[in-house]
Symmetry: C3
Subunit: 380 residues, 3 copies
């Protein structure tokens, strides 16, 4: 986005009319053409925004920052409008409006990742092209690439691979045999997609993701193990985003399945035959063991571990670093662990925890004993 954006463009992109600053005290219409044609260089927080940046206010917590902001305009809720010293875009959901507006100021990923590739076949319009494939890419002769596909340097595409229209695969990524990459998928540099993996339309995969590595399966045998070859694949839905360094294993017999709209943060581990329901969000460093099913619209906090062969129902929220070792069958918020405290306290508490069962037995006995003493006193 190197062209000049104006406040009028912002209003158009948001589909919201600019409202004059009610607290400015000025009688004049400050949404006049001169204001609307002001340049906007980007978005910023209320506290840091300069006179060419738009900010947003999503919660009461930052009202003081609103009153002091240097932004050219602020996206906010109706109830906050009167506190704004600058013109505002009023909406019941400023956070979504902000999310939408980031797209206006985002760098063009094609330009970023493939902009300096010279081998373009030009198409009809100024921006049109058929395919932009770096000459150093290794593409199997029987792979099928859609229109508008971009392939970066050193990309390796295996036999029988299908790549949908508009998909972009950046430098060094490899795609194994027979895998199918959906339309408008974006894969950043150095992802590794194994064979027989399906990725739905518009999904985004970041660097160093591995999709389709062998599930961890071994049968004990004398003093070693027999490897269980992993014969299933991986099916990833549409509009999925997968963070950097995340690993998703292929299934043992059936497929590992990631639903539509699922968002996976960085360094997540998904074992074989896990199924994750649509629109579930996993924060970074989550690990889910084999064959577990996570429902739809769940929110799994960072570092959570979920054991294998479990079922987690829809709309479950699990807080950070919780260990889940049994099914969860009611929506709600779940947790485990203990809270941070000074180490000297913690050492004492942990030592007590190790004998907790004994102490509780003491407590229960004591309860009986006190009841008994009371009776004896009262009988007198």
């Amino acid at each position: 986005m190197r062209m000049t954006v104006t406040l009028s463009d912002v209003a158009d992109h948001l589909g919201i009319t600019l409202t004059p600053a009610s607290v400015s005290g000025a009688e004049g219409d400050d949404t006049a053409p001169a204001l609307l044609s002001s340049p906007v260089t980007g978005l910023a927080t209320l506290a840091r925004a300069g006179s060419q940046q738009v900010a947003f206010l999503a919660s009461d917590q930052y009202l003081a920052q609103l009153r002091a902001t240097g932004a050219i305009a602020v996206i906010l809720k109706p109830q906050h409008a009167e506190d704004s010293p600058v013109p505002c875009f009023i909406t019941p959901d400023p956070y979504s409006a902000y999310a939408k507006l980031t797209h206006l100021f985002s760098h063009d990923k094609t330009e970023l990742l493939f902009g300096d590739q010279t081998a373009k076949a030009s198409g009809e319009g100024a921006d049109a092209f058929i395919q932009n494939i770096h000459p150093s890419a290794h593409i199997a002769s029987d792979a099928r690439l859609g229109q508008g596909v971009c392939i970066g340097p050193n990309v390796v595409i295996g036999s029988g691979v299908q790549i949908g229209d508009g998909a972009r695969i950046a430098a060094g990524t490899s795609v194994g045999s027979r895998s199918r990459i959906g339309r408008n998928v974006l894969i950043y540099p150095q992802a590794s997609i194994y064979h027989d993996v399906i990725i739905g339309d518009r999904s985004i995969i970041h660097s160093h993701c591995t999709v389709g590595s062998d599930g961890f399966g071994f049968a004990p045998h004398r003093d070693g193990f027999i490897k269980i070859e992993q014969l299933g694949g991986v099916r990833i839905g549409s509009d999925v985003e997968i963070g950097a360094g995340t690993t998703i294993d292929r299934g043992a017999l059936d497929d590992t399945v990631i639903g539509d709209g699922v968002k996976l943060d960085n360094q997540i581990q998904i074992a074989h035959n896990v199924e994750i329901g649509d629109h579930t969000v996993l924060a970074a460093c989550v690990g889910i063991a084999g064959s577990t099913r996570v429902g739809k619209h769940c929110m799994i906090g960072g570092g959570v571990g979920i054991a294998g062969h479990l079922t987690i129902c829809d709309q479950v929220n699990i807080t950070g670093m919780t260990l889940v070792t049994k099914d969860i069958s009611s929506p709600g918020v779940y947790s485990s662990g203990t809270a941070v405290e000074p180490n000297s306290n913690w050492r004492r508490n942990v030592a007590r925890f190790r004998q907790l069962d004994g102490y509780i037995r003491t407590l229960i006995n004591l309860e009986k004993e006190v009841r008994d003493l009371r009776e004896r006193i009262e009988q007198r």
Copy 2:
């Protein structure tokens, strides 16, 4: 595996004769030649198997599924044979037989990873070749490659590297100077093997593994740190498997050592000078700090953390997300942490935990006090 496999082939591969279905009620020999020559397309679970798939039953839990299975044949224990509606392969260890059978239906990795490389030097037989090296690979002039080696696109092999017969190194992997890769090793795309790393025969390394990165060593010095150069290497045994994204640091002075037959799942972190005994299995996301020794035949659950400079004896089983901060010197099962519960309960319990030592002191005092009261009552 694209040729047709028959039930007879399955019997041969397993080394087990097909037993007719005892509950079929049929008097005829259903292991007759016609049945044995039936095509088998693969393996499936009891519940999903179709008429050309073999299934297996390893535990009583799935007996109902056995009775309703659509499989052409089932691998099972002697005691389950009479419940089978279809012919069966009877063995005391169906899980191992299943593991073995997966190899019959597994894709040929050479075909998958190197199949579309044209630069083959043909050998004696139809399948024979001397070496299959992609022309884009960068191989140091003094590296030594064994017979039957496959090297994928963009692989980088450093000076003095030795690669054993039949080893296969897929796209984009780099192997640092003087490292030695054993016979029939399989390395998936984009692994990074640093210098002076030894990998034993038949080991498998998945994408985005790093082996031989610097151990984390710094000496505090004024207001910064002096890096401690890591002068040791990494020695990995034979028949080891290393999952995607796992990192194994090189030793500070001596080597980091992974024993024979060790299985490491995805995203494991092995710090410098750790030693892991033969046939130990680590589930995903385990972290082991520097200089710790883990014994043989241990099972370490997902997300376990083991502090540095500890010794864990043989045959220790540690459950998921346990924190180990002291030596373990007896075989057995070990755990730490707390179990998942609804967040509202958890908040109350955690608040109590932070004052646990105080409460237990109260309990102990109370115990004394009750004893004292009892004495006073009894003395009257």
Copy 3:
């Protein structure tokens, strides 16, 4: 380091004179020229050192090993000198001296990573060269590379990138548009640096690091999410080291910031807009959620998780696998979790923990009741 190093070289490198063995009983000067010219092949632990290796003693714990060491010389504190059977280098800080000495025996990274690249432009002296760029590297025409830069095979350098003098970028690494790599930075194979990332002088980045991937930001919207484009960058200070597989996300609006001298171990996850103060050290597998600020000179143990939007002050030490969910505003040592114990005990304790609040209520009631009983007894 393939040339011969002598004990005299070691003394020069350390800047410490060799002291004769006081316990040898020998009257002669064993630091005589013959000794000083003895070859030293490297460093080793006291227990394993041979007659051409130097060892060090940093704590009383290993005094017995000192007395039995086979090392040619030992680095130690003044109070340990009299126990040394061999000549010694006396210093108040043997660990720093050891750290310093590792540099004398470390392999030359340029030799290791770029030594077999033939395309060298020779410079003035024997070791001088202008740039060593592998012909397979893809470098945008408008990228600017300093003097003495080494670029390995298949490296991809985007448009507008600046690379400082003496920086070395090994095989397969990609550097996104407009990123700036400082002087003498060392990047190991297959790192992924996204666009608009700044890396300070002398920093070291290991394999499979991702720097600048999108922060995890989505605005809920009907039954899905709107992606929040991440418009900030990443700024990494000087003298930083980043371990293998670590991921650092770019900021949402402002930058993610890693201070000078920060050391990050393997598989760490740093979310968007995190700020880490100078000289803070994070052990492996730490995860820090968005917008959290960690102070200077902190030590964060392995597997620690820190929630988002928190402030951790300077000089905080957090032990392994602690979960931090609130600000820490005093220096000190902090912990959470429970300690490892046999699983059978643990199960009982954990079951009690789940009802801890109830038990503590019982305890508190019991305390009142006992007080009441005491009063009734004493009133009689």
